[in-house]
Amino acid sequence: MRHCLTRALLASAGVAAVLSLAAVPAGGQARSYRAPRTTDGKPNLNGIWQALTEAHWDIEAHSAAPGAVLELGASNAIPGGLGIVEGQIPYTPQALAQKKENFANRLKLDPEIRCYLPGVPRAVYMPYPFQVIQTPTHIMVVHTFARAVRTIYMSDHKEAPADSWMGWSNGRWDGETLVVDSTGFLDSTWFDRAGNFHSDALHVVERFTATSPDHLAYEATIEDPKVFTRPWKISLPLYRRTERNAQLLEFNCIPFAEDLIYGHLRKEPAR
């Protein structure tokens, strides 16, 4: 009797092991994991998520390199990164020259330094948590950095009435995947700290797919005929922040950037 029970236990443990292996994405490809459902029957993406890459420094594959601020030494140096871009970013020749100039002048030009809204997709892979609050008609995505908010309209799709920093996002479900189609971007944001950039013709299509209770597979196709010779893709996993009581803390960074922006206009100039 005990022998049968042990074999049954071993068999079920084996099954359990197979199931948990199946839930882990291999090479970024989603297995057929079925996320728990919201009350309206859609995959439940609610929660606090965060990327774990070096893409916020440079979305392309890159080696370690010095930082731009002498006094910060190694703590602000650029770690090497495998990159999240499939291949290299297909810039036009003029745009590539612009990117190089952006990089050379990044201390003056990077909008992140001024606490400006990070845009899409940069907000997704900045090294801070973001929260998804999902309803049938609106999926809100709230980012830590500069408290950036994206509204994903799940119904009543409209065109962007005017251009904005975080764009205008229309979403729909494709089986297990949330597909978000965004346009209406200003040309003011960058993709990373390395000066990778876009124009106001930017068009981003993102795909969020749950691959386990605590993982999302994220892909984005980026298109901008004024800057790139063809569309290109990025992909990375997103991880659930599983700490009990995980939450976003307030990161209102405007006071931290004001002296940079306005300091030279002081009656007695800041040093």
Binding site: N46, C115, I133, M140, R147, E258, R266
Partner: protein, 338 residues
């Protein structure tokens, strides 16, 4: 010349008709008498507060001097609103400070063009009964003096960006609070509910308030935030939100970082949320005080309010002050020395 007075009269007329037709206003006293209305539920069973809301009001926070009652009659309230709408729409006199501004009416931003919940109250403050802020404690008075002195030491408003208000710097506005109070325009909010959370997106500053309602503990006292830290729970059909952990810079009506704020949201009908808040700050006031303002259903969307990013006006103001300084310095340098 466009006749703004004519426009305000037409709009005022629309308000009068709507106000009188609705038979008065929503108030705490009347809520219990209101016909029984059942608030719909979200799919996970929360009372549904979702949608777009606007808390524009003509009612001042404190009861005006000379007014000794809690409620206006419907006719008095309408008259008050018409006067205010007419004053806002009135053409400013060229060469006056008020004239140095774009026209709110042209951009749909004056209060008469905002959705307006009916409110017969003479003040937003409902407690104390005189409709005024309670007296300051000794500590509150000392802090007020200290802050005024610090402002003086910092110099003129255009001497440094930090001498401008949090609002002009796009850091924090009255609509954000909390408590969330209307300003001149764009007093719009979007409420979104998901299991365990109520989120309020404030149009101004595109400011997110994420309020957990899962019973979790408050943040540790070492963490202070401009908008504090909020925890919500349902009491019947009322959302109760407690906020603590404010910074010393927040200063709502002179409050300290020890302020404990309790907000209550009750949807009293399809088009109205009754918003009530209590401020408890023994470091500042001798007793807690409460205020109430109805929110009216509004039309979305909330377009992005990227305020800091577009704050050219602040830059121009400071640059203008420095240009002025330079002109004055050159003028006095060219004068013959005594």
């Amino acid at each position: 010349m466009f006749n703004r007075l004519l426009l305000s009269t037409v709009l005022g007329g629309v308000l009068v008709a709507a106000f009188v037709a609705a038979g008065g206003g929503v108030s705490q006293a009347q809520t219990s008498q209101a016909k029984k209305w059942t608030v719909p539920r979200t799919p996970d069973g929360q009372p549904d507060l979702q949608g777009f809301w606007n808390n524009t009001t003509y009612t001042p926070l404190q009861r005006p001097t000379g007014v000794n009652k809690e409620f206006y009659t419907a006719e008095e309230a309408v008259e008050m609103i018409n006067k205010a709408a007419a004053a806002e729409a009135e053409q400013t006199v060229p060469g006056t400070v008020e004239d140095v501004h774009y026209d709110f009416t042209q951009f749909g931003l004056d209060r008469s063009q905002a959705p307006l919940a009916q409110n017969l109250r003479t003040s937003l403050i409902v407690d104390p009964a005189d409709g005024k802020l309670p007296p300051l404690t000794d500590e509150g008075r000392r802090r007020q003096t200290a802050r005024a002195e610090a402002r003086k030491r910092a110099g003129g408003p255009t001497d440094a960006v930090q001498n401008q208000s949090l609002s002009v710097r796009c850091i924090l506005m009255d609509r954000n609070g909390p408590p969330m109070l209307a300003g001149a325009y764009n007093n719009n909010y979007q409420i979104v509910q998901a299991p365990g959370y109520v989120m309020i997106l404030v149009e101004m500053l595109h400011g997110p308030r994420i309020i957990p309602i899962d019973g979790r503990a408050q943040l540790p006292p070492a963490i202070r935030q401009l908008e504090g830290s909020s925890r919500g729970r349902w009491e019947g059909d009322t959302l109760v939100v407690e906020t603590t952990n404010f910074t010393d810079a927040t200063g709502f009506q002179g409050s300290s970082e020890n302020m404990r704020l309790t907000e209550r949201f009750t949807r009293v009908d399809a088009d109205t949320i009754l918003y009530r808040f209590t401020v408890d700050d023994p470091s500042t006031w001798t007793r807690p005080w409460s205020a109430e303002v109805p929110w009216r259903k509004a039309v979305g969307p909330l377009f992005e309010h990227a305020c800091h990013e577009g704050n050219y006006g602040l830059y121009n103001t400071l640059a203008g002050a420095r240009a002025q300084d330079k002109r004055e310095a050159e003028a006095s340098a060219s004068k013959p020395s005594k």
